[in-house]
């Protein structure tokens, strides 16, 4: 187990360096960060050169990247151009987005898997067909449309929730945004669980469990579901990174000041340090979530062992 984790951590390093380099290059294409710094006016050439030296932007690109990565490993994500350390921005933004993601993942796990089990056990029945149609509709309506519609209906027309989230973004306020963020993945989790359950339902171990007289509930939960969860867990694990990165749209609709909001502002203002820093953390989250998923396989299926 320990050796496996170490090997996987070592494998992560090139992916991490590659992804951060890629985003570093992309942000560099984004345009001159100094130009955005002086607002609407053109920068005075002397000031611009001074700022360039100060931020190390006069150095060649690879050197900038090396310096940046060196700093990141000591916990220094640089300074946003307004003088605030990027780590400070992260400190306010990440807790909000993590809460939002947790709500979304809970929706996926609880509702998605429950619907998947129900439809998988009743394949071809009216419940199955209607849920399946519903998932198709949810998948085809883009998140921003779902978000705007739910905001209009629940927030404005019926007044059940506040249409926008307050600065603190308490867990209760994040239920509707979390549902919006989860919606498409929720539909996929339902479909994946359904396929998996329907496939395993005819397997020998289920027949054995039924034959030895176990209660139906125990057959489904302990035998069938546990064996059907591996593809679902894989999907949810890889989805965590995508949810946090994709929260840009949801956070914009509900005015949540999380990672997506900071990134959007950073991109609009050509705030390269903020953008690179936040994306670096998102890439790390993605990689770690993938590792955890692989370790979870061994829990779900004891036949999988990591030496």
């Amino acid at each position: 187990m320990g050796r496996y984790v170490i090997r996987r951590l070592l494998q992560m390093i090139p992916v991490f360096l590659g992804a951060t380099l890629l985003i570093f290059l992309m942000v560099n294409v984004m345009g001159d960060p100094i130009a955005g710094l002086c607002g609407e006016r053109q920068c005075d050439p002397a000031t611009a050169a001074q700022l360039r030296r100060e931020f190390g932007l006069d150095k060649p690109l690879w050197q900038q990247y090396a310096t940046y990565m060196g700093n990141v490993f000591t916990g220094d994500f640089g300074t946003a151009f307004n003088g605030q350390p990027v780590t400070e921005l992260m400190g306010t933004a990440f807790p909000v987005t993590v809460r939002l993601t947790v709500v979304a993942v809970l929706f996926e796990v609880v509702i998605g898997i429950a619907l998947g089990v129900i439809t998988g056990m009743r394949r071809g029945r009216p419940v199955d067909t209607s849920v399946l149609l519903l998932t198709l509709v949810v998948i085809s309506v883009p998140t921003f449309v779902t978000g705007l519609l739910l905001q209009l209906l629940l927030g404005v027309q019926w007044g059940w929730v506040r249409p926008s989230v307050s600065y603190q973004a308490a867990l209760g306020e994040l239920i509707v945004p979390g549902l919006v963020l989860a919606s498409v993945s929720l539909a996929y989790v339902t479909r994946l669980t359904r396929t998996s359950i329907a496939e395993n339902r005819r397997s020998d171990y289920v027949r054995t469990a039924v034959a030895k007289g176990l209660p139906r509930r125990r057959v489904i939960l302990r035998h069938l579901l546990r064996n059907s969860l591996i593809p679902v867990v894989t999907f949810i694990g890889t989805d965590i990174g995508a949810l946090m990165g994709g929260a840009i749209v949801t956070e914009r609709i509900f005015n949540i000041h999380g990672v997506g909001y900071q990134l959007y502002q950073g991109i609009l203002r050509h705030n390269t340090q903020t953008v690179v820093g936040f994306v670096t953390v998102l890439v790390l989250v993605f990689l770690v979530a993938n590792l955890l998923v692989d370790l979870l396989y061994a829990v779900l299926d004891p036949r999988i062992r990591y030496a």
Partner: protein, 328 residues
């Protein structure tokens, strides 16, 4: 070495296009295991053996889902080539005095916040979506299957480099990459959007194509062809490609729908197409501030977008069912 019977190479398979294509990939993976349709399929009435494709086509023609989605797509293609056929008006002719007004005769969908006719704009918006979807999918499918296919066929260092490169691309959230890359683009055409999608979308297909080629490569008929002295290019083009293309087609069809949704999302965020281009994403974005007074301006383009995406996803579903005998 750890013992990991169920852990595939693609365990790090990321959520490329917001998860949608990932699922398509995992659902299509059953296809990879069964290249060429697997097993004898019986023979036709004339005693001629039927191919996977003729079998699939026979299935598709009888599938109501396929017929319905194909009809919707045909209609979409028709109005994107020739929008004035059913919407003769000019989508840019707006009259502020009619802003946010509801439907009336001659203007069945009402007017948006700028007083433009929602019906005309919705019909004309199809062209953008269809163009982006088709071009991005073609680009991604060609680039992805060539790179992935070659990597799977030749293996070795090239394969290792490609696999690590796809890992890197999967780690970057797509909407975020779009915001960063497209925020500098000033050209107001679909091409930067298409280019961005090809740039970030190819690893998805290349992973599928690589897996399919590796599976197909191990088949007896490939060994036989090699033993008979066929050149690598002949083996690849004549024997492997026809048997490995099915999963690529399935994933690409479903991906087409997600690209259309992605274009609308990017336009909504203000980095895709910008006015005066006509796109559903722009219209939805422009209508969202007036959502209380003029919800119709939001609902019609949203509905059109949803139906389009739905049609392509269902088409992909139907094609997958037809190509994958395991699901029967």
């Amino acid at each position: 070495m750890p013992e990991q019977p169920q852990q595939p190479e693609g365990a790090i398979a990321g959520t490329g296009m917001g998860g949608a294509m990932d699922l398509a990939a995992s659902e299509a993976s059953t296809l990879e295991r069964r290249p060429g349709g697997g097993g004898p399929r019986g023979t036709g009435p004339a005693g001629r053996p039927r191919s996977l494709w003729s079998d699939a086509w026979r299935d598709l023609r009888r599938n109501p889902v396929f017929i319905a989605s194909a009809l919707v797509i045909l209609f979409l293609v028709l109005i994107s080539v020739w929008p004035s056929l059913i919407a003769p008006g000019d989508p840019l002719a707006c009259d502020l005095s009619k802003a946010q007004e509801g439907p009336r005769s001659g203007h069945p969908f009402g007017f948006d916040g700028q007083g433009c006719d929602v019906y005309t704009r919705t019909i004309h918006g199809a062209r953008t979506s269809v163009t982006v979807g088709v071009c991005a999918t073609l680009g991604v499918a060609i680039l992805g299957s060539v790179l992935g296919g070659l990597a799977g066929f030749f293996g070795g260092a090239w394969d290792a480099i490609l696999s690590r490169t796809t890992d890197i691309f999967f780690a970057i959230p797509v909407v975020l990459g779009g915001l960063v890359l497209l925020s500098v683009v000033t050209s107001n055409t679909v091409w930067p959007v298409v280019g961005f999608m090809v740039l970030l979308g190819w690893p998805q297909i290349s992973r599928i194509a690589r897996g399919a080629v590796i599976t197909a490569r191990q088949n007896d008929y490939v060994q036989a062809a090699r033993a008979l002295g066929a050149s690598p290019s002949r083996i690849l083009l004549r024997h492997i490609a026809p048997n490995a293309i099915a999963p690529v087609i399935v994933v690409a069809t479903i991906a087409l729908g997600t690209y259309i949704a992605l274009e609308a999302t990017l336009s909504y965020l203000g980095v895709g197409l910008k006015p005066p281009s006509v796109s559903w994403g722009i219209d939805i974005s422009a209508a969202s501030p007036y959502i209380r007074n003029a919800p119709h301006a939001l609902l019609w383009p949203s509905g059109a977008l949803a139906i389009t995406v739905l049609a392509f996803i269902m088409l992909g579903d139907a094609v997958r069912d037809a190509l994958d005998p395991k699901l029967r």
